[in-house]
Symmetry: C2
Subunit: 194 residues, 2 copies
């Protein structure tokens, strides 16, 4: 069943009847994205939330010097979207790109609204999802303000163990907020210590 992983995810927070599951499924669509292809480009209006079932996406912004900053990774079991654009339906700043061939399930903004009306439980589900995301983001702000790059890396390793041996170093460097060069130096420093 292609929606299994997603259904698991949803069932952690709300209980659905068979009928409600059917409604939910009818609002979803599947899609595959090739490595290096984009689900969303900055400047576009984000019309979908995406749930990754295999592969990995990353969301990043480009600053005025052309440097990319990774805001989030989406490995299997994670949602990704440009929340600002999705909510406001204005052009966003996020690029969402496949780091490898990736399968996703899409829920359009329009269908999400319908879902809220037809199965109000989903208000709760997405509220909880966003609450968790907010907590993670607040923690990241605190970490960026109060920890060294080395400490942030160590936290990243603990928090996303599956991503570590999966991602190129420069992606992780970008996520924790340092240059690839510094990240490399930092890592050889860490190895020397242990």
């Amino acid at each position: 069943m292609p929606f299994d992983l997603l259904l698991n995810n949803v069932s952690k927070y709300i209980h659905l009847t068979e009928a409600e599951k059917e409604v939910f499924f009818s609002f979803l669509q599947q899609k595959s994205i090739k490595r290096k292809a984009f689900l969303l480009d900055e400047g576009e209006i984000c019309r979908y939330s995406a749930f990754v079932t295999s592969g990995c996406l990353r969301g990043y912004t480009v600053d005025k010097n052309g440097i990319k900053h990774v805001l989030s990774f989406a490995p299997p079991g994670w949602w990704i979207a440009d929340m600002y654009s999705l909510i406001s339906q204005k052009p966003g700043i996020l690029n969402i790109e496949a780091l490898e061939d990736t399968d996703i399930i899409l829920l359009s903004k329009v269908n999400q609204e319908k879902l809220y009306n037809e199965v109000p439980k989903f208000e709760r589900f997405f509220r909880i999802l966003i609450e968790n995301s907010l907590v993670a983001n607040q923690q990241r702000i605190v970490d960026n303000m109060s920890l060294t790059a080395e400490e942030r890396y160590s936290i990243f390793c603990k928090r996303y163990p599956t991503l570590i041996d999966h991602l190129p170093q420069k992606q992780i460097a970008s996520y924790i907020g340092v240059t690839p060069e510094f990240f490399s130096r930092m890592r050889t420093g860490l190895l020397r210590k242990s």
Copy 2:
């Protein structure tokens, strides 16, 4: 009416009947906090969301060197809580302190859950509130990664004009993530330019 400002805030996103308003009000309590007093100390479990009606609160964490980092300000019309602790009901890391004598309206976690059940519309209200908060936090992460302190200050001035002439400089410095000394120098630099 002491709940006017809050009702305005709620009415932006959902429409309430008189009966629903009554239910809502019955779940709320008012409180005053003296300048320098704490609504929440780190290590405590956060049992309330607070809505500020007058005065100003700040939420901050303390790092291992004893340095305080301001995560958020809550002027009138804003909500504040330790979201991590509120959700998980585990000890949190946030200190919430009154920067001046402040009046707030409290909604307890318990009453919030009751409210969701008795007036499900509030699921939507808080979902939207948290969505907006998430977007602001994501933007802050991006800003911290890609902008200089000066640029972040300039954005802060535009985004929170009422706070600027209201707050001690060191609070703003802490929010944008620099030392008070550097902030002071930066500001005299900016004045010289204009």
